[in-house]
């Protein structure tokens, strides 16, 4: 069930919210757990078993790991890591890793045919962070298996993040408050995310899809740049829209999930970009991989190696393909470049130049992220560099219709941090005009909700990009 499907918007979400609000303190956790498992089973069928098994295993291991300072705690953590890596390898990387070993590939074929459970990378990383945090003594182990299952399966962020750490919501599982203000705020956030995903990302997707589907002989330079612009905005609007919806639903249920996107395209360096893009993933890699590897404390060479290793794995996290590895390597290399003096060079540029640098290198990286093979990437880069097809029917002008133009402009507007500024300005206003403007904002968001629902009813909306990770 997608967040923008009519069934979710008009039945599942209102019913779950209603039941959760009407239930008592314990009851609402039961409601949420059952709703979350139902939500996952609805879309993934028997794969819900993987989620339940993962919750069970990690709950037990958490209890073991909580005996800190003992060998059994270390063994429990090692077992947990092995379990999680095994899960990822089995469902996500087996075909890629063992495709050239026919016997093994044949043996794993039934699993491959099932495909990876949606969101496996997200809930596996959540579970892993829980074990590590318990091992480090950051949080106590959760003794109640149902509460732990609720943490792992919480439906708003279950299938595409943000990767919520147990430490961030441990107290909220037991005690959380819901009031009209939070519900209204959550609704606004949800509707904003829905509009970003359905109306903007959905309008840009066909252009990006077309540009990236063309062969070298058909792709001209103009369309290559338009396609890249559309994809760069699409992936941001799609993923940050999902995060907005997850945060919004969480707020309506009394949870506070951490922000996952902090207007990353407004950054002025790649280092800053990774503090703003998919924050829950980048901070996960920082805390559980980069820092344990030594971070930047062991000299320049080791720091460079650590950065590269982290970003190669970050690429691999997104999927089993060389293109993702190259995408991760690209970002790792850029970070090293900034660390060894590039940042000082960039600082000499005017602010606009720094922004342009960031947008350019990040967008070029999206080519690697979007293509299916390295050949395709080379063709696409050639087209971007002006060596594309000279005569092609697929010009940028052909695709730049009013809907795409509006979505591009609105997407750019949504990529800069004007909303916090507007909120700040709104707060300064006197009461009557503030309330009038809030009503206007709410009316606008209702319109966005209705239009998005209509798009879902018309069958024109597309699935989330990050579902496949």
């Amino acid at each position: 069930m997608l967040f923008h499907s009519p069934l979710f918007l008009t039945a599942f979400l209102p019913i779950v919210l209603g039941l959760a609000w009407l239930s008592g303190r314990r009851g609402r956790n039961v409601v949420l757990l059952l709703a979350s498992l139902f939500f996952y089973a609805w879309g993934e069928g028997r794969m819900v078993g993987v989620l339940i098994a993962s919750a069970g295993v990690h709950h037990l291991l958490g209890l073991v790991v909580a005996r800190r300072g003992t060998w059994i705690s270390h063994a429990g953590l090692a077992a947990g890591i092995a379990f999680d890596l095994g899960l990822l390898v089995l469902f996500k990387y087996a075909n890629w890793l063992f495709g050239s070993t026919p016997d093994l590939a044949l043996a794993l074929r039934p699993v491959g045919a099932l495909g990876p459970p949606i969101g496996v990378s997200f809930f596996t990383f959540q579970a892993l962070s829980y074990l590590v945090d318990v091992h480090r003594g950051v949080v106590p182990a959760q003794r109640n298996p149902f509460k732990f299952a609720l943490y792992l399966s919480l439906f708003p962020q279950l299938i595409a993040g943000p990767i919520v750490r147990y430490a961030d919501i441990a107290t909220q599982i037991d005690k959380r408050t819901v009031d009209a203000g939070r519900v209204a705020d959550g609704f606004r956030r949800f509707a904003t995310g829905l509009g970003k995903k359905v109306l903007l990302a959905g309008s840009l997707a066909p252009v990006a899809d077309h540009a990236f589907s063309l062969g070298a002989g058909d792709l001209g330079t103009g369309l290559a740049w338009l396609g890249l612009a559309c994809y760069s905005l699409q992936i941001y609007l799609d993923f940050s829209g999902y995060s907005d919806m997850a945060i919004g639903i969480g707020r309506m249920l009394g949870f506070d999930f951490l922000e996952n996107f902090l207007h990353p395209y407004s950054s002025r360096s790649v280092t800053e970009f990774w503090r703003r893009w998919h924050v829950s993933l980048s901070s996960w890699f920082r805390d559980y991989l980069y820092i344990p590897l030594g971070g930047n404390r062991k000299g320049h060479w080791r720091t460079g190696f650590n950065l590269l290793a982290v970003f190669v794995l970050c690429g691999l996290w997104h999927g089993a393909a060389w293109t993702f590895i190259f995408w991760g390597t690209w970002h790792g290399a850029l970070l090293i470049f900034e660390r060894v003096g590039g940042a000082r060079l960039l600082a000499r540029l005017p602010r606009a130049g720094q922004h342009m640098w960031l947008v350019l290198v990040v967008c070029l990286g999206w080519v690697l992220f979007r293509v299916e093979s390295l050949d395709e990437a080379l063709n696409y880069f050639a087209a971007l560099a002006g060596a594309g097809a000279e005569t092609t029917p697929w010009t940028a002008a052909h695709f730049l219709n009013p809907v795409v133009a509006v979505a591009l402009i609105a997407g750019c507007v949504a990529s800069v941090p004007w909303v916090p500024a507007a909120r700040h300005g709104l707060a300064k206003l006197s009461n009557p005009s503030r309330e009038i403007r809030l009503i206007l904002v709410d009316l606008f968001l209702f319109l966005v909700l209705a239009w998005s629902l209509a798009e879902g009813l018309g069958g024109t909306s597309t699935p989330f990009i990050y579902f496949r990770f």
Binding site: L7, L114, A397, H398, N401, V403, W451, G458
Partner: protein
């Protein structure tokens, strides 16, 4: 199956004379949510209101319409696109030399068949709306080169296949258009001809085959076709676009003809006085058929699937293939398994079901050598040599029961064949069952169960892979019951 279950099976079969109901499979249970979501979306109370509001907002604020089937042209003109038609017309998607040769070969074959029954043959690849009215086409769709239609017409001319090109006459007739009354040769909001366009087309064809049409009085009056043809309601834009109220129709009613029993849903016979004509057409032939039907003995088959048996039965003097240029959007790489024996008559599904066999993966496909008549008249149609091939059962109505697809194969060395069922056009999807069927040396019959929910869109695809086993496909049969034989709709739906 346990003994108890066996007893139960026998009990129910003998007492109640029906099969034991089976539990749904896990796959069926897992497929249920998607079906429920679709049904829920269709039943949602505010659906019409929301879709209408969104369509109007898009139309008025962004000058666009939703979906990819139709594209808004200049003014309030709508053009059928289906993701490809306008690109075919503007020369952005020309036929490759192989595809062109394949079309020419197909039409040459049809001409040969016509000659065999002593008939003259002509093919008319009809110009679609943007061909006749490029000035109203969407400005983004710039004309770049010759359309597929022009490509094929030129190739047919070179191959000596008789053609009829309506475009010059239609372009000349545009001078009679009355824009203030929305009187054009095509409906502005639909893809088809107006009454005047149909009249012109019928007159051009009649003149070509030497048929004298009875004099008729034509008047401007409310006609049924515009309401049928307009896409405004389908796009939830009814009310936003001006309805076409009047068009040119004959004053006297045209003879309706007799529905052709067992044939495509709106195929007809007209026992007229004149020459015998076998008219194979798409939705652009309906009005023309009605006009011609009063003045000749007409067998009008509404289908792209050539029916040799019916043609023989009709003993025509003329065989006319009458298709709008959209037919060239079809998968010309696929070769049609469309003999009357193997498709139209034997299939319990009824007519209109199309079989397409195309390369999938590394397999190679070759037409079996031999005279076309022999090839088309026998079930042995195509030879697929090792590797994977894709068999698509197209234009398929919803199945009422589970069915069986029987393949007749020869594999000299035996071995096995893997069959993967795929909904839609044969693209592999996640979680589909791949079944393995052993092949005995020599002839084999493989019965592939087709669950009724395997149907995706309007077709089922079978990916056949013999691996290293050499095998040859000789024929295929489908056995199932359909819920609805379906309606041909527009030619777009016939692709």
């Amino acid at each position: 199956m346990t003994t108890d279950e066996k007893t139960q099976t026998v009990e129910i079969r003998e007492r109640e004379r029906r099969a034991l109901a089976s539990y749904p499979s896990l796959e069926q249970v897992e497929a249920a949510p998607r079906a429920i979501e679709k049904a829920y979306a269709d039943h949602l109370g505010l659906r019409t209101l929301l879709l209408r509001a969104a369509a109007r907002l898009r139309w008025s604020a962004l000058k666009m319409i939703g979906g990819t089937e139709m594209v808004r042209g200049r003014g309030e003109w709508l053009f059928l696109h289906y993701g490809k038609h306008l690109d075919m017309w503007r020369g952005a998607e020309p036929l490759s030399p192989q595809e062109l040769a394949s079309w020419v070969e197909l039409l040459q074959t049809r001409r040969q068949l016509a000659i065999q029954v002593g008939a003259k043959y002509v093919v008319a690849l009809l110009p679609s709306k943007p061909s006749v009215y490029p000035e109203w086409a969407p400005p983004r769709y710039r004309k770049l080169g010759p359309s597929r239609r022009k490509q094929v017409l030129e190739a047919l001319l070179a191959a000596g296949v008789p053609t009829l090109d309506l475009l010059p006459k239609m372009q000349a007739a545009k001078s009679d258009d009355q824009p203030e009354q929305m009187d054009f040769l095509f409906h502005t909001q639909g893809p088809h001809w107006s009454g005047r366009g149909e009249r012109l087309a019928a007159e051009v064809l009649a003149s070509h085959i030497g048929l004298d049409l009875s004099p008729r009085t034509w008047e401007l009056r409310p006609g049924p076709r515009a309401a049928e043809d307009t896409w405004a309601p389908r796009l939830y834009l009814d009310g936003a676009l001006p309805p076409l109220r009047q068009e040119w129709w004959p004053k006297a009613e045209l003879p309706p003809g007799q529905k052709y029993a067992g044939a495509h849903s709106d195929s007809r016979r007209f026992p007229g006085p004149g020459p015998r004509i076998f008219f194979q057409h798409d939705s652009f032939g309906r009005g023309v058929r009605d006009i011609l039907g009063a003045d000749c003995e007409l067998t009008a088959i509404w289908s792209h699937h050539f029916d040799f048996g019916r043609m023989q039965e009709a003993q025509p003097e003329w065989v006319v293939d009458w298709w709008v240029e959209w037919v060239l959007a079809g998968n010309t790489k696929a070769v049609r398994l469309n003999s009357p024996q193997s498709c139209t008559l034997e299939f319990e599904m009824g007519t209109g079901v199309g079989w397409y066999l195309g390369p999938g993966g590394t397999g190679t496909l070759q037409l079996v050598d031999g005279p076309p008549a022999k090839t088309l008249g026998e079930s042995l149609m195509l030879e697929a040599k090792t590797g994977g091939v894709r068999l698509i059962i197209g234009n398929l109505p919803q199945l009422a029961t589970d069915g069986v697809c029987r393949l007749v194969l020869t594999a000299p060395a035996g071995g096995a064949i893997e069959v993967m069922l795929t909904p839609g056009n044969g693209d592999p999807v996640r979680r589909v069952n791949t079944q393995r069927f052993p092949l005995t040396p020599g002839h084999s019959r493989v019965d592939i169960p087709l669950p009724k929910d395997a149907h995706g869109g309007a077709s089922i695809g079978l990916l056949l892979d013999g691996g290293a086993t050499p095998w040859t496909l000789h024929g295929a049969q489908l056995r199932a019951k359909a819920i609805d034989q379906g309606s041909p709709g527009t030619s777009g739906g016939e692709r």
